[in-house]
Amino acid sequence: MSKQQNKEVALKNDGLSEEEKLYFSDARPRPYEPYSIKAVEDFANWARANSLWILAFGTGCCSIELRPLMTARFDISRFGVAGRPTPRQSSLFIIGGYVSVKTLKRIIRSYEQMQGPKFIIALGSCPANGGMYFDSYNTINQFDLYLPVDMYITGCMPRPEALLSSILELQEDIKAGNCDGANRYVNNLDWYKTNQKKVIKNWDMPDYNW
């Protein structure tokens, strides 16, 4: 139902000047449609779960925990997970800690440029409820108002073991076909965009960063 609505209305791109509008797409993203044969979809999910690529974008102090995760002691590559330097090649976005408004804008740009299927793990207390920055003028308090979150890890800051276990859990969820964050984002794009534009006052980018 919502898919039909999405196809009808093009994005307005109000933040861009008339000249810039020529250079950016105003097409709406489309939700992912699973394969009609369940066995094929299950196989695809199994493959996705076992080749997660983390976007190397540290947003706050919790992203420090990603470094030991990749080196010898915790060695995330045991589970088929590795880092990628560009959103175009990654499928897992780990929000590393507090998100300031300025960073949120970059996070949205990066997330939208990632190719589906894509997943978000919000790491630490700050994206969940503001954490120790709950009264800050510059950090958001509920990350799931702005982007869909597949899994929260609480703690200030969580140990790499917590990340390891959450990634294992995320893999189980993906295999079960439960991680539909990207589809939720596409289907409720207007709601997410309203929330995003409420806090990002100088919206000078296209409404969807293809």
């Binding site: 009264d135 108002l145 100088n202």
Partner: protein
């Protein structure tokens, strides 16, 4: 030795620049107060004649009760390993200060930040009007003390249901050490 040099210099500055409130905060850190109109001249003198060639930082303190901002220019002398804080009081209502980006090029970054966080104007400083940390900020500068950061946060970002805060001292008394009855 270093102290003698410092004292000689400070005595000279007292007469030349009507410097006041000289106090040694700790070894190798002295602060002094100077009037706004003498400040740039004094800092130039310190840099060119007295060897305070390094600008560590510029910062600002908001004394809202007195209606003033105190700007602190922290200068360092590498030869004598001595630090000097030059404090300048400016009015809060019409906050404006001479730019020193001609003395140290990096000063304009600090000045840009001060303009954004405190609303202090530095006429002539490069790229002063551009956004620095806060993009599209439309309220009063957030580091001014009349700015209510919790209220702003609640209005802009909201709070998740179920979150509550404990005072660590009370919480530990009740949950961790109930038998002690709150004794230290």
């Amino acid at each position: 030795m270093a102290n003698e040099l410092m004292n000689t210099m400070l005595n000279r500055l007292k007469t030349d620049f009507s410097v006041s409130d000289i106090s040694e905060r700790k070894p190798a850190l002295t602060t002094l107060k100077v009037a706004r109109e003498n400040a740039e001249r004094l800092i130039r003198e310190l840099r060119d004649r007295e060897g305070f060639t390094h600008l560590s930082f510029i910062t600002c303190i908001d004394y809202i009760e007195d209606g003033i901002f105190t700007l602190v220019y922290m200068l360092h002398n590498h030869d004598r390993n001595d630090t000097l804080g030059v404090e300048v009081d400016i009015s809060r209502d019409n906050a404006e200060m001479t730019s020193i980006h001609t003395l140290w090029a990096q000063a304009w970054t600090y000045q840009r930040e001060l303009r954004e966080m405190f609303g202090i104007n530095f006429p002539g400083s490069p790229r002063l009007e551009e956004d620095f940390c806060l993009e599209g900020w439309d309220d009063i500068p957030p580091m001014r003390r009349e700015f209510d950061t919790k209220k702003y946060s609640s209005e802009q970002f909201g709070h998740r249901e179920g979150r509550h805060s404990e005072q660590p001292r009370e919480h530990m008394k009740v949950t961790l050490y109930p038998t002690r009855g709150g004794d230290e």
